[in-house]
């Protein structure tokens, strides 16, 4: 419990002014524009969009600038802004199978229909600091306009990408993996945790929505724990793909779907063994992750934790925190977590004063208890001597 305090207006104004000037840094250095952040720190922008749960790169870049680069603060800003906007309905489910792919890899099959496409990646880099960037050298050109053209490969690469069916469908043909839906199953309207509070046990759609807006670090650590022995998880990266997906919605006045734009998303499908149960033969099960932007670590972590949380419904024993819905889902949100930890900075003067009083009283009681015991002892010794 904290109490209201008054005063300090001037000091707070000054503290904010100081924060603004610290954010600006040395005025001899050119100011960073929102567009520069959007263009040149896109992975930071993607994280803010994911946990802010709003796809708008410009707003996420603005939030990052305003928050001096603090992701959690930026996410808070975006969440707050989100509440000021009306909601104009729901999109049609994204068709990620028909994504315009810029990266696609599989850890389970070497040869895939459509091939493996590395896209832009930090994998295979040597993780050595690149001092050319410090020297503000020329930006390297992309392969499409650079080296490939020179090597005369442009003609080859100009051909449209081949169709890229889902990797896990290869296993589906053999019936070795669970179906993502039964044939002829009708769509159900998913519940929205921003409109209705989560009740436990939560259904899969709500769990996934929660994880996607969850803190990346928390999910990454949970999935690490699940693989290290606190979750009985032995996953394979079935497929990961990044690319553009068209967004469609059906306006009431038209009654047919129209495209309103595109979103860049990363999708991860994890494969896990499943030993089978009385009803089901041994087969592979899936964990699914989806994230805004180029966010592989996030998408994979979501997929791993998503699978761990399915333990109960797959008839596996729920032994670890990573498999416990209430533990995981109620602690994913960085805005809630940050709020709760930060609130300790608020005045708790009265609370603390009462605890202080109590400790003093207890100490007094102990002291007086001890001294009276000592007195009693001494007097009894005296008695003995007599």
């Amino acid at each position: 419990m904290y109490v209201a305090v008054k005063g300090g207006e001037k000091a707070i104004d000054n503290a904010h002014a100081l924060m603004r000037s610290q954010r600006r840094g040395d005025s001899k250095v050119a100011e960073l524009s929102v567009e520069q952040i959007r263009q040149q720190l896109p992975l930071a922008v993607d994280r803010v969009m994911n946990e802010g749960s709003v796809y708008d790169p410009e707003l996420a870049a603005l939030a990052l600038k305003q928050a001096s680069g603090d992701a959690v603060e930026a996410i808070f800003l975006l969440r707050a802004y989100r509440t000021t906007l009306p909601r104009f309905g729901y999109s049609e489910p994204l068709d990620t199978e028909n994504m315009q792919i810029e990266r696609r890899i599989s850890g389970t099959f070497k040869d895939l229909p459509g091939g493996q496409i590395l896209g832009s990646t930090y994998d295979y880099t040597h993780r050595l600091l690149d001092f050319a960037l410090l020297a503000e050298g020329e930006a390297p050109s992309s392969p499409a306009e650079g080296s490939c053209t020179e090597a005369g490969e442009l003609e080859d690469s100009l051909c449209e990408l081949e169709a890229c069916p889902r990797v896990l469908e290869l296993l589906n043909k053999e019936g070795l993996i669970e179906q993502s839906r039964q044939p002829g199953e009708a769509d159900e309207t998913p519940r929205d945790l921003t409109r209705e509070p989560v009740n436990y046990p939560a259904e899969r759609a709500v769990r996934l929505q929660n994880l996607i807006r969850g803190d990346e670090g928390f999910l990454l650590s949970l999935s690490y724990a699940a693989m290290r022995g606190y979750g009985d998880s032995h996953p394979f990266a079935g497929e990961m793909r990044t690319g553009r997906v068209s967004v469609e919605l059906v306006p009431e006045e038209l009654g047919f779907p129209i495209e309103i734009g595109e979103v860049l998303v990363t999708e991860s499908e994890m494969v896990n063994q499943f030993h089978g149960s009385k009803e089901q033969p041994p087969q592979f099960t899936r964990g699914y992750g989806l994230a805004f932007g180029r966010a592989e670590r996030k998408a994979m972590s979501v997929a791993l934790v998503e699978r761990a949380l399915r333990a109960g419904e797959l008839g596996e024993e729920v032994l670890y925190p990573t498999q416990d819905q209430e533990f995981v889902l109620s602690h994913t949100d960085c805005v809630s977590a940050n709020g709760f930890v930060s609130h300790l900075k608020l005045p708790h003067y009265v609370d603390f004063q009462s605890e202080l009083e109590m400790i003093r009283r207890l100490r007094r009681e102990i002291d007086t208890g001890e001294s009276s015991a000592r007195q009693a002892n001494e007097s009894s010794e005296e008695d003995n001597r007599r």
Partner: protein, 160 residues
């Protein structure tokens, strides 16, 4: 529905498909490209706002496992607008992002594309160039991705 109800079903379906196409192209065009092409047309249609441009959110949905039941993915900013020409034709736009001018221009273009005397002009001088530009971007992105296509070789681990 704004398309005349007397038309036979196939023409109506064609008209709908055509409208879906141009609305998608108008939405996906960059605001700068759209305004440039639009201003070059020097059209000044009379219109009334039925819905002033307003920005809000749409909840994007995905499917569990990519193809299963729908789930709520996260929201996206969206700006929409509706105009009515003096002829009574209604033009509508729904555009990802927060650009109100983009939404107004797209709604006006949607209305004029439904009008017999402006449809061809707009199709040729607005939609076609924007579509070509978008197709080129898709090509360029595909080319960049294709240049990173990889064949992994499995090395046989020696037993002896």
């Amino acid at each position: 529905m704004s398309v005349a109800n007397q038309q036979d079903p196939t023409t109506q379906a064609d008209a709908q498909a055509a409208r879906q196409r141009w609305m998608g192209i108008l939405a996906k065009a960059s605001s700068d490209d759209l305004q440039q092409q639009w201003q070059a047309l020097q059209l000044e249609p009379e219109y009334q706002f039925i819905r002033k441009p307003e920005t809000g959110l749409t909840m994007l949905r995905g499917r569990l496992g990519g193809a299963g039941q729908p789930f709520n993915f996260g929201e996206m900013t969206l700006t929409r607008c509706a105009v009515r020409l003096s002829s009574g034709t209604l033009g509508v736009s729904y555009i990802a992002g927060r650009d109100k001018q983009h939404a107004i221009t797209a709604a006006l273009a949607d209305a004029l594309l439904q009008e017999a005397d402006t449809a061809t002009l707009l199709q040729n001088t607005l939609i076609t160039p924007l579509a070509e530009k978008q197709a080129a971007q898709v090509q360029a992105r595909a080319a960049a991705a294709n240049s990173t296509k990889v064949d992994f070789f499995t090395l046989v681990r020696g037993e002896d």
